[in-house]
Structures are given as C-alpha cells and as structure tokens.
Symmetry: C2
Subunit: 246 residues, 2 copies
C-alpha cells in the first residue's frame, strides 16, 4: 500500500461543498467514486479543507491509500478521465504512510474575488461577488493590517464552529485590484468556519464607509460574531493552495 497525496482543483458551483453529506452531491464523493473506478479498490479520500457549498479550489489537498500499480505521479492523469470537467486532479505524489493533510503545520492561501463595478459581468458571476457600490481600497487595506498576526478570531467565525480554540495566525492579507476585479488574498495557519468570508464581508463594509478601519480592532476585542460584518457569498471564494512544512 502507498499513500498518495492529490492536489485537487474544482469549480464548486454544482457541489454541496467538499465533505460527503446525505442531501446533495459533494466533491469528496465524486472523487471517491472516480478513484474507486480507476483502481478497482474502495477508496475514501481524506481532505485537507472542507470547503463550503459553492466555494472553489485551485489547490485543495487529499490523501488516500492504494495498492494500485499505477505510478504515483501518473495517478492524476489516470483519474481525470473518470472525473466530470468541473473537478481536476492537478498533481499526485507519494507521501509517507503516516502523512495526514490536516494534522501537520501548513499555510493555506485563500482568495476572495469581488467584481466592483455598477453592472454585473455574466462571465464572472460564478467566481466573484458583485458589489456595485464603490469600494475604497485604501481603507480596506488599512483595516486588513489589524487582522494580520496572531489573534482570537472568535468574532470572525460562524457560531456553528466546533473548533477547540479560535486563535489563528494570519501571515499575510493583501488586497489587489486589476480592472474591475478586487482580490483579497489571505494566508494563514488555519481558518475557522466561514472566517475568510466574514473577513471579506467586513472589509467590504469598511470599503463602503460603513465602518472605519480601526473598528476592526474593536470587532476582534469583542469576541462576538454579531460585531463583524456579513458573511460574503461563497462563489467569490477559492482555496488557492496549501503549503506544508517539510
């Protein structure tokens, strides 16, 4: 048996998120089915990040164990014909048998895309949040500074969370604009449930002038979800990648 690490990209539009659930089709389920058909084994992958319904990925990570004779690096090429076109395994490689995608240090990078113009763009409707009001990027950047570093992000976490601690470290939080598209890029050692979307929603309220950049400190201090801004919609979010410590 070998343990294989997969890097997985998907358009989350059609899926009820990553994790298998009774009420709809998920990325994990489709991946299990494709790998099982390919190998003739009963495959159950273990994912790094349980992305929400409608959220995308360019680099989610999953592992599975197999006795298949297919060379590790070729598994990506071999499984893609068994997958629908909205899920692609972009890389496969062998890892040690004890390697687990969630139980070791990593830095995850998410991107949140905001289309900031008056009219929607039908070609960006599936991978961005359309905000028709002007956003002040300088204010958003000033607010973002307060979020970088180690903080208790309890205010930026949906109440359904089961996390033991709500302390997380954001390594970087950059906001760029290219034509009409704003990209909020956040890297950190872990994210609470809905954390990136609540940060995106809060920064957008700062950008509209509903809150000052300094209020972000008060929100952090309050430790209460209702102090932060609205949860930005899922289609703007993409899990860009996960870097593991060697």
């Amino acid at each position: 048996m070998r343990r294989i690490k997969l890097t997985v990209a998907y358009d989350g539009t059609a899926y009820c998120g990553w994790q298998i659930q009774p009420n709809g089709i998920t990325v994990e389920e489709v991946l299990n089915r494709a790998l099982s058909r390919l190998t003739g084994e009963e495959i159950h992958v273990t994912g790094a990040s349980r992305t929400d319904a409608g959220v995308h990925a360019r680099g989610n990570v999953a592992v599975f164990d197999t006795a298949s004779a297919i060379p590790s690096e070729r598994l990506a090429y071999a499984v893609n014909p068994f997958l629908p076109e909205d899920i692609v395994v972009v890389k496969s490689e062998e890892v040690p048998a004890e390697w687990h995608p969630r139980y070791q240090n990593s830095v995850k990078t998410y991107e949140y895309h905001i289309l900031n113009r008056e009219m929607p763009d039908p070609l960006r409707r599936r991978d961005s949040w359309h905000v028709s009001f002007p956003l002040d990027l300088d204010k958003m950047r000033a607010a973002a500074v307060h979020l970088v570093g180690e903080h208790d992000f309890r205010s930026f976490c949906s109440i359904h969370t089961g996390a033991k601690t709500t302390v997380r470290t954001i390594c970087s939080l950059d906001i760029e604009k290219s034509e009409d598209l704003i990209t909020i890029r956040i890297s950190g050692n872990g994210f609470l449930y809905n954390m990136v979307r609540i940060i995106a929603g809060t920064l957008t309220e700062v950008g509209r002038g509903f809150r000052t950049p300094e209020e972000v400190n008060d929100i952090l201090d309050a430790g209460a979800r209702k102090q932060a801004g609205a949860t930005a919609p899922p289609q703007g979010l993409v899990l860009a990648g996960i870097e593991y410590e060697q």
Copy 2:
C-alpha cells in the same frame, strides 16, 4: 418612437449563438422576450455581431425602437431583472433613428483566451481553450505581425461565408500572457465567419512549432481555407467591444 442602443454582455455557454434559429435558444431571442415583457411592445433587436454558439461577449451591441416612457439610460437597469443571469445589458442610450449597428464604420475587438498549462483549470473551462503543450509566444507574435493591416483573409474564413469581399483590415493583434493565460487581442474593421478562431488556431500551431511565423504569409497568399490552421473552439472567444465612429 426612440431608437435605443444596448451594450450587451453574455456568457455564451448555454446559447446557440446570438442569432435566432429554430433549433435552440439564442441570446437575441432571450433579449427580445425580456424587452417585450418590459415594454409591453413586440421588440425585435438588431445586433451588431452574430456571435457563434458558445462564444461570449462583454460588449456586443444591439438596437431597437420603442415608445416606452422609460428614460433611455435607465432601460439597462429596467430590463436586467427580466434577463437570466448569463445575459446582462450593461448600457443603454438613445441614438438617431437611422443609426444601424452594422451599417457604419466601427472597430471590433475580440479576445481569444488560451489556458496554456499541462492540466486543465475547472474554473477557466468555460472561457478558455486548454492547450497543454508549451507555446512559444515570440513565434506567435512574429506570426501575428504578418496579419496586421489590410489583407484578403479568404484563407481565414469558413467556406460557409456569404461575405461579398474577404478583404479586411486588422488594426492591432497583441498577444499577452498573465500566469498561465494567453490572451490574443484582435481589433479590426470587420471579421469574416470564424476568422478570429481560425487566426487563434493558426497562431497556436505556430506556437507549437508546427509552422513557422513566415508561413502565415503563404497562407494569406494561398486564399484557401485548408492552408490555415484548425478553428479554435468557441469558448475561448469573447467579443470585447465595438467602437463606432462618431
């Protein structure tokens, strides 16, 4: 009665092109229906560019006549709620009663997007052509130079064309790359049937090394469709905009 010019954006994935036809739903038909519902009149738009099935637009142009009391500039906002989310009227304005979107000088700009990396990207599958082989951009640019200016583009035109002359002028043809995405941007005073897609397909064959940049001259001289490259697939093409002379 006023004549209204609309600037129309659409994701062409779900449509059998712009022009009304018996065998499938088209952008023109959906737009007619929405405008008719909005105004209570029987509206038939006249489009500038009859984009093919699966081709997108950020700035196609259409006109229609109406006695509606809705202010010209507000019509875009008023009609969008009657449209599906893959079609958006981004602008509306009054034009003279004799103004016709096809019978006057204009410069059209098309973009053709190629995702040039080994693995496909599920988030770009609807608006780019995935080419997994390395492409030499310098060679593609060297080939593109030969296409700029006034030429007989008979070789770059599908045989089904009904055009009186196959002479056209390409004002500019730029090729840019941003990360994995190559954008071929072509502006000209008019394009023959499938012309941009055949140019994109031919430049890609040059980029792969199957043809030299100089062969583009021979293709132009031959005046025969079979001398040019394959027609690139529709989903990579977007009509970026149309500029009319004042």
